[in-house]
């Protein structure tokens, strides 16, 4: 690897043919050895960015260097320096797990003996030795993610790009993948990960960038981002049907006008407010709802989470903000094998 940060992105933009602006002038850097998270809802531009970094997609403008190499001028050297596991997993269902890994190794220039040895080590590492000679098509979702991760590691890359590595996994498999990633990072591998899961970003990443509609809206360590929300979060769940729209608006306006309330938004069947002191603000918020004629089902006061960071910067909650349709659409597009970008 040459000098320079693991990833350097300066003014990156991507407009797809047809005019969709997926990435709109973003800049950031990832230092070597860092565990960096790229957080955002579906359709925010995460996958487009990772595909550009991994040389799979041409950029429209800006400068992109990976492992100190320009992705346009030296794509081959970049490919050799990085390992990539994308969301559309790209496994070879008819090949055996071991054969899949060995071929990955050979394609990255390992000798046969090296490839065989490395495949054995990695199968052990990701806990797939017992199914190494079964066809990949017979693997469960979690096993597929792990064999894909192993494939990305065959040539000992210094930088690892992972696009939503745990989406669709059961809790146990997620934790297994997290542990592998933490171990790799501890060994010095730079990890660039995209995710739409706040808990994942919070647990794994030492630094985060939040992307929404193709733009970076915040950047920093999870702790700093949460501290930046400033204060406590009060969440109020209330009973209201469609006819209560005016009363809800009145309650929202009243809450926003209260002293100590920095921000208040409606989201996920309730109201979320950022306040300087949760204990002091709660009674006033309750009476604002009573005055508006709404009954409160539940009120909670919490320290800020990354969800709140996202809400603070975008005015929406991440799970409300799928930019490319509802969950069913996404399922179909995956089922039909259509590339999600």
């Amino acid at each position: 690897m040459t000098n320079g940060p693991a990833v350097l992105v300066d003014g990156l933009g991507k407009t797809y043919p047809g005019g969709v602006r997926a990435v709109d002038g973003i800049s950031f850097a990832v230092e070597r050895g860092e565990f960096f998270g790229f957080l955002g809802p579906n359709g925010a531009g995460k996958t487009t960015t990772i595909k550009i970094l991994a040389t799979l997609l041409p950029k429209s403008e800006g400068r992109v260097e990976v492992a100190g190499l320009d992705v346009i001028r030296e794509p081959k050297a970049v490919r050799q320096a990085i390992g990539v596991a994308l969301q559309e997993v790209g496994l070879d269902d008819l090949s055996k797990g071991r054969d899949f890994l060995e071929l990955q190794g050979l394609l990255y220039g390992l000798s046969r003996a090296e490839a065989r040895m490395r495949a054995g080590e990695l199968l052990e590492l990701v806990g797939l030795s017992s199914v190494a000679d079964r066809k990949v098509g017979s693997y469960s979702g979690g096993m597929r993610r792990r064999i894909d991760l192993a494939g990305a590691l065959m040539h000992n890359p210094g930088v690892l790009f992972l696009d939503e590595p745990t989406t669709g996994l059961d809790p146990q498999s997620r934790i297994a993948v997290w542990e592998h990633l933490e171990e790799l990072n501890a060994q010095g591998v730079t990890i660039f990960l995209t995710t739409q899961h706040m808990d994942e970003a919070d647990r794994l990443c030492r630094r985060l960038a939040i992307i929404d509609h193709g733009r970076l809206v915040a950047e920093g360590s999870p702790a700093a981002l949460k501290a930046g929300v400033g204060g406590d979060i009060v969440h109020v769940a209330f009973d209201a049907d469609d006819s209560a729209e005016d009363r809800v608006a009145a309650a929202l306006a009243a809450v926003r006008a209260l002293p100590g309330v920095r921000q208040a938004d409606l989201a996920a069947g309730g109201l979320t407010a950022t306040v300087s002191d949760g204990g002091a603000a709660a009674p006033a918020i309750m009476s604002a709802f009573q005055d508006a004629g709404l009954s409160i089902a539940n009120l909670s006061i919490t320290r800020p989470s990354l969800d709140d960071v996202f809400l603070q910067h975008t005015g929406r909650q991440i799970r409300d903000s799928d930019a490319d349709g509802d969950a069913e659409d996404r399922m179909w597009s995956q089922w039909m094998g259509v590339n999600r970008r």
């Binding site: 997993v89 008819l94 990955q104 394609l107 494939g151 094998g337």
Partner: protein, 254 residues
Amino acid sequence: MLVLRESYFIYVRNLKTWLAQPWMIVAAVLSSAFMFLFFGEPLRGITALPGFPADDYQAFLAAMVIVMAVVFSGSDMAMVLLTDMMSGYVDKLLLSPVNRFSILLGTLLIGGTRAMAQVLAIILVATAIGVRFEGGVLGILAVIVGATLLGVAMGCVGLIVAMRTRSVQVTVNSWLLFMPLAFLTSAFMPRDLLTGWFQVAVGLNPIEYIMVAVRAVIIEGWVWDSILPGIWVLLATTVVLVGAATYEYRRATN
């Protein structure tokens, strides 16, 4: 040299994928055997027509069965590539530092291999039902080599269809594209016994010249007047289509 090494790895992977689907192979062989059964049997009386060049209709038909199988293998190759594109496996290959041409070469060579294996099977079936190859063992070898080249060429057409459309419904039905190539020929009857616009169209179809050459090797032996045009057309078709597929591939992967 590196390209050859990389192409070989990708080729072996494609070969394993093909062999892991034995029904694809069984179906290909059966469909050829059915051609002899369902066309050869009912039409055998055609040999009585004045000017018909063969005594055994199955021997006449063998060229059609061989060429048709190879032409339609292009449609199979389109589906093979589309499957890899949809599963994301092509992206996986493109993410690796291998030369782009190695990926294309490893894919085209499997098209040739599939055509070669299928033609070998057809020749065995034909021999079993009594077809004699006048061109001898050398003739059989020549037909197999030619079929392999044609398999590569038709594979190129399949790749272009898959890469251009990226659509399952188009690719699954791409055999429609190959149908006129295979059947606007002297498949069932020699060209001078055909009439009207059909005879003209057959004369314009490059596959016809390849079929005539294959048939000559089977029913007449080394009649160069019939064989040479087929060889030139085959070489030209292969060069043009490999060029087109390479261009298309560069366009799609850059």
